[in-house]
Amino acid sequence: MSKLILMVFLVLSIAFLLFSSSIYADDAVYIKKPVAYDANLQKEGRLVWQKNNCHVCHQLYGLGGFLGPDLTNVAEKGYNYMDTFLKVGVNSMPIFNLTKEEKLHLFEFLKATNASGSANPKDYKILMDGMIVQK
């Protein structure tokens, strides 16, 4: 029985490694909206998002904290909208003293999240098998 157990364990592990590798190598861009953004700056913006723990209160595609709104598509409201909240703060949101460069990077990141699609559940359609896809 031990050999069988080991075999099943190895087969599942190999399948997992193959599936994982296909995800790491996936070069598809998955852009749903014609929004231009700087691919290099958005990478830096992701780090600004992390360094300031934005996910503690906010979500991207519904994943994150629930004290503040989802910010996947907030870039549609423009740079000044984001900048005002960062400068003034609101309720439990503190004032973030980000540099001009950090704010630009963060906005590029938010433009990239916006370009990828919509996080609004109303923008999804239900398929016959129960799956959901963006309209």
């Binding site: 031990s2 157990i5 364990f9 599942l12 592990s13 399948a15 997992f16 599936f19 994982s20 995800i23 790491y24 996936d26 070069d27 598809a28 861009v29 998955y30 749903k32 691919a39 958005q42 990478k43 992701r46 780090l47 992390q50 360094k51 300031n52 723990n53 996910h55 503690v56 209160c57 979500q59 991207l60 595609y61 519904g62 994943l63 994150g64 904290g65 629930f66 004290l67 503040g68 709104p69 989802d70 309720n91 439990s92 503190p94 990141f109 990239a112 999240t113 990828s116 699609g117 996080a119 609004n120 559940p121 109303k122 999804y124 239900i126 129960g130 799956m131 959901i132 896809v133 963006q134």
Partner: protein, 438 residues
Amino acid sequence: MKLSKNTGTLFLLTGLGLFFASIIFGFLASIIYQYPEFLKDSLGLIKLRPMHVSAALFWILVAATGAIYKSLAILTKKDSYPLLQKIHWGLWIFSLLGIFYCYATGNFGGREYWEYPPVFAIPIGLAWLLFLLIFFLKVKSIKKWPVYVWMWMTGIVYFLFIFIENYFWVIPYFRESFIKDMVIQWKAAGSIVGAYNMLVYGSVFFIMERISKKAHTGFNKWAFALFFLSFFNMLFNWGHHLYLVPTNASIHYAGYIVSMTEWVFFIKIIYNWKKQVTEAEAFYHYYPYRFILAFNFWLFFNLTLALFMSIPVINLYMHGTHFITAHAMGTTIGINTMILLAALFFFLVPKKEHHQSQLLNTGFWGIQISLLVFLLSLMAMGFVKSIWFFEEPQAQFAEMMARMKPFTLLFIFSGFSLFLSFLGVISGFVFMLFKKHP
């Protein structure tokens, strides 16, 4: 009791300290939902949430490590490699001190659940590598592995792999596409829960085998079948976190189909119910068993929630709402914490006759009732948000939050009651631990 004599004990008690810290941070964080200005200029949610979540996560990892060391000492009838185990513990202490210092001073840089600067992943990774080495050195004397040794091995090996994957983002290549980065982040976040659940579930299996004194259960075919089903889910069901994320459809379908195999667990729990009631009558006053019984109830509760959330069309209405928080907290408290509290009692205060305590009894029931109200209030908050998502015209976010207010208050009060109940159980446990029993 000489606490330093066994490293398993040190791990278990370090875990208990982390759990205590987690419930304090969690309670303080919950107040912010009602009073946004609370501690805004000192800690705020930005510091409190990582402190709470990391302390809870580390409680599970550290206490599960302790439970495995204790179990292996019983299985192999010796506590071998004490120096390596002490180094292992030392690496954890170093990491924990550094991480919480960074949190207190507002030095972040990591991602959700792992917000500390990524440099601390190195000592944690080394600690895990050492754990892997010690584990294999210890189990080499066991000729035929029972299912829980397989579970521990799987949990340790895969935790290390997924923990490394969790840090792929430090390489710019993985951040080039926002969607790919997000998929890898939630792939790792989903699978890593499965990996540490293997450690915890293996421990509960070992404890139950010892309580029931049925040595053959660890070799039961059903036990191995369920182990492989859990393993299969750990590897492939994480796609259910990503139904809304526009990525490769194969990820969504793999998550959907694999998650549905969990109905087998659901049916098996119901099937075992009657047997468990009979057992409960025999062991009710023994706290390790009582916490395991509570774990079974919460497993059923959370599995039901998880199964529905894994159906994409239902997920559409629950995703991005407090249903997710209810599920996460339900599993962390109801499943992992119940098992690890059972382990603390089983390994450190093993005698049934020492478990007669009114404080413990009140604390135990306080936890169960408060947790139920706590989770229901979160689900009610989720329901309010779900309705808001689909209303036309949609109200402002702040107005939706105001609609939640009665449930938010219930969430805070039940959270406080949960905090006090846990405090009762921890105090009762510590009192028993240091009391000189005749």
